[in-house]
């Protein structure tokens, strides 16, 4: 993740920005509606955004891929806030990282938002399915693990779509980039899974009213 400024040529940067903008519009619509119903939603979204900012702050560069690895934080944010709010949340966290630390960039903001929020969206879908059959602990742990890996899967896809990345086939390049992420990202994803499950469990046990207010009945509509 954290693809730096200048990674993509103009047409790709524009395409990713357009796609991310659609997600952000979707998220802001939800934000507007939920804040109107419950003022505290704004505070919770800001807390989770600050959490995403802090969790994904320390990147570990990955040799030969042109990117870096770090925990995402968006799987947990998606489970608590729902899948839509993760888009504006990721965008704001990435803007702060670009301004304060030069991590990521303005021209890669769309691509980075897509991978961060995409990971959150996948994590939420996994959590929703597994929660029904295996309970919230297994659901949250698996969602954290898969969500964290999904962020890198999307980044690998974005990087393999770069023009003239290699003379090898697209699938080979994609698999190669994703495989290069794995040695660092796999342990990080396992830790993120455990962390997500523990935090979800803690909030559910200690402050069920918060859980009911924010995470209850989240839908994709």
């Amino acid at each position: 993740m954290h693809l730096p400024e200048g990674t993509f040529p103009a047409f790709q940067a524009a395409a990713y920005t357009g796609l991310a903008a659609t997600g952000i519009w979707w998220g802001l619509k939800d934000y507007r509606q939920r804040v109107r119903e419950k003022r505290e939603t704004g505070t919770m979204v800001a807390v989770m955004t600050a959490m995403v900012f802090l969790v994904s702050l320390i990147p570990i560069p990955i040799p030969l891929v042109g990117s870096s690895a770090h925990p995402g934080g968006t799987p947990l944010a998606a489970i608590i806030l729902g899948p839509k709010l993760v888009f504006p949340s990721s965008l704001v966290a990435l803007i702060f990282q670009a301004i304060l630390f030069g991590e990521g960039g303005f021209t890669t903001l769309g691509a980075n938002t897509l991978s961060m929020a995409g990971g959150g969206l996948i994590a939420w879908l996994v959590y929703r399915q597994l929660n029904k059959f295996f309970g919230y602990r297994v659901g949250a742990a698996t969602a954290g693990f898969i969500g964290s890996l999904s962020i890198y899967l999307i980044t690998a896809l974005e990087l393999s779509l770069l023009p003239a990345t290699s003379s090898a086939s697209f699938l080979l390049v994609f698999a190669g980039i994703f495989a290069a992420f794995l040695p660092l990202q796999l342990p990080l994803a396992l830790l993120e899974g455990a962390f997500t499950a523990a935090v979800v469990g803690f909030i559910k046990r200690r402050r069920p009213e918060i859980w009911e207010t924010f995470a209850h009945e989240q839908t994709l509509r």
């Binding site: 730096p4 952000i24 804040v35 807390v47 955004t49 935090v199 918060i210």
Partner: protein
Amino acid sequence: MNKLYAELGLTIIILTAVITTPSPYFSLTIGAFCLCGQFACRNRIHWWVFIPALSVAAASFAASALTVGNDPALWLFGHLPLYREGLWHGFTTFARITGGVITLIFFSGLLGLEGMTRLALGLPIPKELLELYLTTYRFITLLQEELRRVRRAQRLRLGYANWQKSLASAASLAGIILLRAYDRGLIQEKARRLKGGLSPAAVSGVYAYEYRIGQAMVWQATGLLVASTTLLL
């Protein structure tokens, strides 16, 4: 305020030019001028912020040099061939990333969060996004404060515990941090609303960076001019 928009416009033009121009010399020239501008404007920057981006740029160079190209190999590193086409492609990517990152750091270092906030308040950005941006800015400090306090408590209690206990404790402490930050945030939110919310006056006034914008723009514009000339030559 007009100076702020002019600076933003110039930076957008430069970043767009960096990602659209195929010449690596263009990006490197712009990057060199922005780097000189950093010193001239006495921007307070931490040099370590360049390390991740430069390592990514170097990695992209190596990846391209060893994988891109179909022409006869220039050199063989074991089984890995080094192509002329790959070297050029890698150099272009390296230059684009380096030039882009230096420009971004120059711009954000010049304005800082205050300048960015003033810019954001004047731009046609959805008001919800602006609200989230401003609230998150406050919460980052709040969360960091809670994190420091809770980490100190954890170190005192679990200094000699094994890693399983430490991990379980760290996760529940993360939950505590989030909940405490949320509770404190609610109190702050109430206090802020009682005071009348965040009015634009909160970020008005003359800031130190405004004196440097003119100088920064001279460096950026000269860089753009010289880089365009290298493109024509």
